[in-house]
Amino acid sequence: MCLAMPAQVVSLDVQRETATVALGPVRKEISIALLEEVAIGDYVLVHVGFALHKLSPEEAERTLSMMREAGENPERELAEGDRP
């Protein structure tokens, strides 16, 4: 239902416009083609393999804790979600 996962950027491939994001132990390569400036350490919202927006660490944590509160597993979501 239009949900996106927050994750932290841990590496960048500027040439390919991709980033590796992390959430807990899960790592995933995503496209950063829709964002202007992304830096290592930024939090981004990931939806079907694309980073949609940047968000603050506090916003990211708040969203993740709400998802966990709903009994969901955001790490698994990021791992199983689509690639760009």
């Binding site: 239902m1 239009c2 996106a4 996962m5 919202l45 939806h47 949609l52 998802m67 199983e80 979600g81």
Partner: protein
């Protein structure tokens, strides 16, 4: 099952072609909302539902206000509507500029979608300088100069990257010949994809009789949406016993160009692509007209009214992908029930438009079924990821 869920779509080719759609989209997430205040809901929804964030936020705030008997000012309502329209433009543009080039076998020019996202941020900032538009009884501050300039930028982007001319003029096209003449220009991905459709013979592929979601009175919708067993309805919604479609095609079905597509080839792939372009082309004009009315009333200085809220409300919003509905029950300031019905549930119902259109594609003896199936899914635009198997 994952938080966002996904669609499993299996297409079987042959004379008895079929398509099976299974959704793993969970609906338990709205349980998070019970036991909270309306103010918390208004903050929570845009954080969680971040893809159609503006439509979700507008619907959530409005449903809370209605249940509580709060009437936002006309200016606030206009700002919220403008924010949803800006999001619709962004979503259509991202599909057209990122997804459509893939079907032409070429990589998208990624600088353009990035400009789209930047424009979207500028529009949001112009319309809601201090981020209060979706607070309960919020009074957003509008930066009129920035809004006018950014709407001008949006028009220029549409002209250069999609319509190869002014969007408002593009809307005057009313026949397939007009569309073919335009697509011959081949200057933008939209022109090239429509040209292929018209020339390669897949324009009418996946053509079905569309069963549109009608206007539904909120009292009528309250029955199934606020029922004890509403999960069954929100997972597999039907209206008068039939799954319905709520998409840009349904919204634009009366436009002369979409009518010409239907008369020439039925509601197939081509009509769906054309309807998205029609909706996009009209958006700058709609937004400029709404923005012009804001000059008579400053949202931030207008007053908030009261009505007799009865703690129960349904609000429907036309989001980018179709109609979104939220339902709420509040008792003494605390939410006791909250439901969301998203357009993907209608459009990707196992017997709905996507399934019927894909089954029609699967019956065709020629053509690249997988490519056309992907185009059909993109045209109906689910808000979750999907896995497609073609046998």
């Amino acid at each position: 099952m994952t938080v966002a869920g996904r669609l499993q779509i299996d297409v079987c080719r042959g004379p008895e072609g079929s398509a099976r759609i299974v959704s793993s989209r969970p609906h338990a997430i709205t349980r998070l909302f019970t036991g909270r205040t309306s103010g918390e809901i208004a903050r929570l929804v845009p954080t969680l539902f971040s893809v159609c964030r503006m439509a979700q936020a507008a619907t959530a705030t409005s449903v809370c206000e209605t249940a509580l008997g709060i009437l936002p000012s006309a200016g606030t309502a206009q700002v919220r509507e403008l924010l949803v329209l800006a999001e619709t433009a962004r979503e259509h543009l991202v599909r057209i500029l990122m997804d459509w080039p893939r079907f032409l076998g070429c990589a998208p020019d990624r600088a353009v979608p990035r400009r789209v996202m930047m424009l979207d941020r500028k529009l949001r900032s112009a319309l809601d300088r201090d981020g209060t538009a979706f607070a309960i009884a919020g009074k957003p501050h509008v930066d009129r100069d920035a809004l006018t300039n950014t709407l001008g930028d949006l028009e220029m982007l549409l002209e250069a990257e999609v319509f190869a001319g002014p969007a408002a003029q593009w809307l005057d096209r009313a026949s397939l010949d007009d569309l073919l003449a335009w697509s011959n220009g081949a200057a933008t991905p939209a022109q090239r994809l429509l040209h292929r459709g018209l020339e390669e013979g897949w324009w009418a592929s996946g053509s079905i009789e569309v069963d549109p979601l009608p206007e539904i009175d909120r009292v009528c919708l309250a029955g199934p949406l606020l029922a004890e067993d509403a999960d069954a309805f929100t997972r597999l919604p039907t209206w008068n016993g039939r799954p319905r479609e709520t998409t840009p095609l349904v919204r634009q079905a009366e436009h002369p160009l979409v009518q010409a597509c239907r008369d020439g080839a039925g509601f197939g792939l081509g009509a769906r692509l054309a309807a998205r372009l029609v909706e996009l082309a009209a958006l700058p004009g709609r937004m400029a007209a709404l923005a012009a009315t804001l000059t008579t009333e400053e949202a931030a200085s207008s007053s908030v009214g009261r009505t007799a809220g009865n703690g129960r409300a349904i609000v429907q919003t036309e989001a980018a992908r179709g109609r979104l509905a939220h339902a709420i029950e509040i008792d003494r300031g605390i939410v006791t029930r909250y439901r969301i019905l998203a357009p993907t549930e209608w459009n990707f119902h196992p017997s709905g438009s996507a399934a019927r259109g894909l089954a029609k594609l699967a019956c065709a003896s020629t053509g690249d079924t997988r490519r056309l199936a992907e185009l059909m899914i993109t045209a109906l635009d689910p808000c979750v990821g999907y896995e497609l198997k073609v046998q």
